[in-house]
Symmetry: C2
């Protein structure tokens, strides 16, 4: 049976989680995948606290490398976003082993900084999708089960509906993508379908983020942009008087980037999986 | 006497002001510069409202061009920040006349997007400093008087203390600079002393902004960075455990950019004037 055991390592490159999340995620995995040998191993680093971060930069980088370079883990799953992945990305990339390069990595939000750096470094198993901490959302079990079905079986049902093996794709939180553009973490997204979502940003900031993102020469080489959900938008004072889709259409028009419609991603339980590059065939 | 008349035009490239601000600023100018012929002319566009903006993009761009290209105005002063200058910068730059190129422009915060674009276009009379709406701050008369003394007389007393004719300088709000990097508005700041201030951003966002700014290849060519005031920082949850100066020192160390100490700029009444490029000789 040992060849059939799937080991998933969980690390927190940004903010920490509490032990309750780990327990609930493991229980859910046992319940929903009861006929499989699934082991979800939370690195102790996930529970550290150093100011804003789940341990200092060295601790978070080392935990990531511990699990990424460990051949017994089939996949590496990010525990949570928050903030901090950009601070460790440059220091972990040069230390990735061949084992790390063959692994699947799943996360979103702040973890996008690290996914970007890994994608730039040539890794092929990267995906934007739910994290362990999503179990804290109301109905979050669905998001976590979706993430596990992707990590364990590359389930096509977990994928964002427009994803196909024929087209390269990538997905990011708008603020996270904006803040890696021009840095050593910026990946080449030429000819990719770029999906963008946002949460808890005022409409004027979404407008400014899209000015920045679509004004970038590298981003102007994408095949097009799909707009994910923009949720929990604080009230704009005064009313912004434009929706996020109007704003996105405006900046696509200004920049000459094709607007391809909506994407089924966001900071919510319906957040679907978007593999970076071409989708794996099921 | 007509040669001694100084006409200052005021436009609002981002958010609008109310008429009370215009009245108070004009009264203050009459009071403090009673021996001079000063005319402060607020473009009607300053009082428009179109969603978030002081009129739509066309109205704001046209108002800017009206006054910038009007030879009877000696200087162009920005009414207020808010948001919106980045949306009109690319459309006004190609329409600047020679008259506009010889003029002085003063503002900060969101107006920095436009100052950046004008600086990139080769204008030499640009400066970061107080705006008309600063009169609304407690004690704001001091900021407005400082702005006027710079616009009218290039008063050396208005300048940030480290500014010298020997070194090029530039000053920005961190978020504004971050959001123009990589866009057509990004100016060449090679060998400049770069002064950065921030307001109303969480410490984790200041950290992320400085990751982004100092990670940019163009910014890595600056002579050094001075840290202005970071005011009204919302409580970080959890406590970030680092001050803005610790964070700035961290990113300067990571990026190899010299940290030159503090700058006397910020979203407050003590905000000093920082000319872009080399300071005008008094």
């Amino acid at each position: 049976m040992s060849e059939d055991r799937i080991r998933i390592g969980v690390v927190a490159p940004g903010s920490p989680i509490d032990a309750g999340i780990a327990d609930r995620v493991r229980n859910l995995a046992m319940d929903r995948f009861s006929d499989r040998l699934i082991e979800i191993c939370f690195h102790p680093q996930c529970f550290l606290a150093s100011g804003h971060f789940a341990g200092d930069d060295s601790a978070r980088a080392q935990a990531f490398l511990d699990f990424a370079n460990d051949e017994t883990f089939h996949a590496l799953w990010f525990a949570r976003g928050g903030y901090g992945a950009c601070r460790i990305a440059e220091r972990v990339v040069p230390k990735l082993s061949d084992v790390a390069r063959r692994k699947c990595y799943l996360g979103y939000s702040d973890a996008g900084s690290l996914l970007a750096a890994l994608y730039k470094a040539g890794l092929t198993g990267l995906a934007h999708g739910p994290m362990a901490a999503d179990i804290n959302r109301e109905g979050g079990e669905a998001a976590v089960e979706r993430a596990l079905s992707y990590l364990i079986d590359r389930s096509p049902d977990a994928l964002e509906a427009s994803v196909t093996p024929e087209a390269d794709a990538a997905a990011f939180n708008m603020a996270i993508l904006s803040q890696i553009l021009g840095t050593p973490l910026e990946p080449d997204l030429t000819d990719h379908v770029l999906m963008l979502e946002e949460v808890s940003e005022h409409m004027y900031r979404i407008d400014r983020l899209l000015f920045h993102i679509t004004g970038n020469p590298g981003i102007r080489k994408v095949a097009g942009i799909r707009l994910g959900r923009c949720s929990n938008i604080p009230a704009n004072e005064p009313d912004f008087a434009q929706t996020e889709e109007q704003v996105m259409r405006h900046w696509c028009q200004v920049s000459g980037i094709p607007y391809l419609g909506r994407a089924d991603i966001g900071h919510d339980i319906d957040n679907k999986v978007v593999p970076f590059g071409s989708a794996p065939t099921a």
